[in-house]
Symmetry: C2
Subunit: 344 residues, 2 copies
């Protein structure tokens, strides 16, 4: 079965993917950071059994995250299947996830339960529906920590209330290169929203990929949070597309040149770093989106290529060791050349 | 009929081409710079008729260089059919040349007669033979300025004696990038030889192309001049090839990467300057020479591509105006893409 992020349709819009996350805690357990290993295991087992006994989740599999190799954990992190928090945690942690990886339940992360649903393009409604269904299933059996005034209680107060975080993964090369992004981030933050790089708060913005998400989870309904984030994101996207259209109208030759050179290097290079590859893939994605790049489309989305060239994912897909950077850069180039020589 | 520089065999060696030039003056005329237009025309006519009445030169055509457009003259200069001196001269000048442009007689240049023969690869012997035959033809009819002690007399004393200059056009990317070229040029000059860029003394070394030629024309026989220049050039070439082989043995991945990226950019770019194109063509030539670049070979030599992308040659081949740099860079990119998509 193919993974949700393989969807190639998303290369046609600056919105790469959507994510919905619900933070929940069980009333009968102390918050995650205070759980002993034994109690954590008990809590995890309770949640896993609630899910595994239901036929609609028969394709879900369970992974003992704290027992996985650092390497496997990093590959999960690279495709956003687990959080940075869970990647670094040394406590008992687990992940229940659907076969296509579009739905996952992180267990004993910062909160007992983090339901996360991912969807290509603007799939927030679909992702929310799926997360909400998982939430209902759990709530029918388990007792959530819930307060009539505050709503769902969370380990960190910034997640309390709805416990909902919605994110759009967006591709914003023009806003980035025109330096408009900084002022945009400032205005967005006034609406209780935030913009981060592809790999979270501390990470650089690689490949011009940015996550736009809500910061405020309290005092608004789920519908309001989704609606306002979608409105803001659509305005951002509109500005990005306007800049693309202006460039196509006024400096098409330079734009074409940049796109085709990037394609030329990606489809011919013999070694390449992840960072350089992400920059060139960003240009190629723009080439496909604008219709300027008239070459074979690869059989997977550019975002999927971006994930697959990250160190751990690359090694996992190669089935080899690729111990040093040099070997990795050579294999990465080979992988990318193959991607662009396959028919989409 | 194809031109001598179209020969694709030369891409396999650092020696791109050979040139032999004989400087001669007629005894019955003052040196070129002292000729009035009328007397210059008379001198030119005398030489042209000597050649045109001989059946072996029936394919030779005559061009009134001083009446040609600056643009046509520049295209001749770009393919080394006329000298920089003749390009700039405002006096009466003419060029007799064979159909394949491998033999030419420049008239009323710095000297009355400059016989120039060009040949792909190490074709000095062939070029000398051809120049010598033209020289004999002229000497049988016309009276050369010749001195028993000094030999052939020339306008500038540095050309006196044999009047012979032999040049190898060579491709020396490794010697250039390793900074060994400067010390090499110093040692070569001690043997009465000189190294210049592709377009002569004042020009930068573009595309890692260098001309190695003799400076001293006096006190040595023609055979000695050719022999010592060939020996020096072979030593230079040997060092260049050694460096290539070392690189292939110790850092093949970086070398391959550089070669393929250059090919990727050339075969995909949408605009490119002559300077950047020459650098990338240098890498691609190295790729073909080393056997590393396994792509379709273009139907003409890389050196021919280098000539064809120079501004005047590019405009001439396009049949269009290409008035500004931007338009020229776009057409140059298109021309190069076509070259690399044609089967060799």
């Amino acid at each position: 079965m193919s993974k949700w992020y393989e969807n190639i349709g998303t290369d046609n819009t600056p919105i790469i993917s959507s994510r919905v996350r619900l933070a929940r805690n069980l009333a009968d357990y102390p918050f995650a950071m205070f759980l002993s290993d034994g109690i954590a295991d008990k809590m995890i087992t309770e949640v896993v059994e609630t899910i595994k006994t239901r036929p609609e989740y028969c394709d879900y599999s369970y992974l003992n995250v704290n027992e996985a190799t650092a390497f496997d954990k990093r590959a999960f992190l690279e495709r956003h299947a687990i959080s940075g928090y869970m990647f670094e945690s040394e406590r008992r942690t687990g992940l229940l996830s659907s076969l296509d990886e579009s739905a996952g339940i992180m267990l004993n992360e910062e909160d007992h339960i983090r339901i996360q649903c991912l969807s290509p393009g603007d799939g927030v409604d679909e992702a929310y529906k799926k997360a909400d269904a998982i939430d209902d299933t759990l709530e029918n059996t388990l007792k959530y920590a819930f307060d009539g005034d505050y709503g769902y209680l969370t380990s960190c107060p910034t997640n309390a209330g709805t416990g909902l975080r919605v994110s759009y993964m967006t591709h914003l090369p023009f806003l980035e290169s025109s330096n408009q992004l900084k002022s945009l981030i400032t205005s967005i933050s006034k609406f209780g929203m935030t913009v981060r790089g592809i790999y979270g708060e501390g990470s650089e913005s690689l490949g011009s990929i940015y996550q736009i998400s809500n910061q405020v989870t309290l005092g608004k309904s789920e519908e309001e949070i989704i609606l306002s984030l979608r409105n803001i994101t659509r305005q951002v996207i509109e500005r990005e597309i306007n800049m693309l259209e202006k460039t196509l109208a006024h400096d098409r030759a330079s734009f074409e040149d940049n796109v085709y050179r990037s394609y030329g290097v990606l489809s011919n290079c013999r070694k390449i770093s992840a960072k350089e590859a992400m920059t060139l893939l960003s240009n190629v994605r723009l080439g496909f989106m604008s219709g300027v790049l008239k070459v074979k489309k690869p059989p997977l989305s550019i975002y999927n290529v971006v994930i697959n060239i990250q160190p751990a994912s690359l090694i996992k897909n190669s089935g080899r060791e690729l111990a040093d950077n040099e070997t990795r850069d050579v294999f990465r180039a080979q992988y990318i050349r193959n991607v662009f020589s396959e028919e989409g």
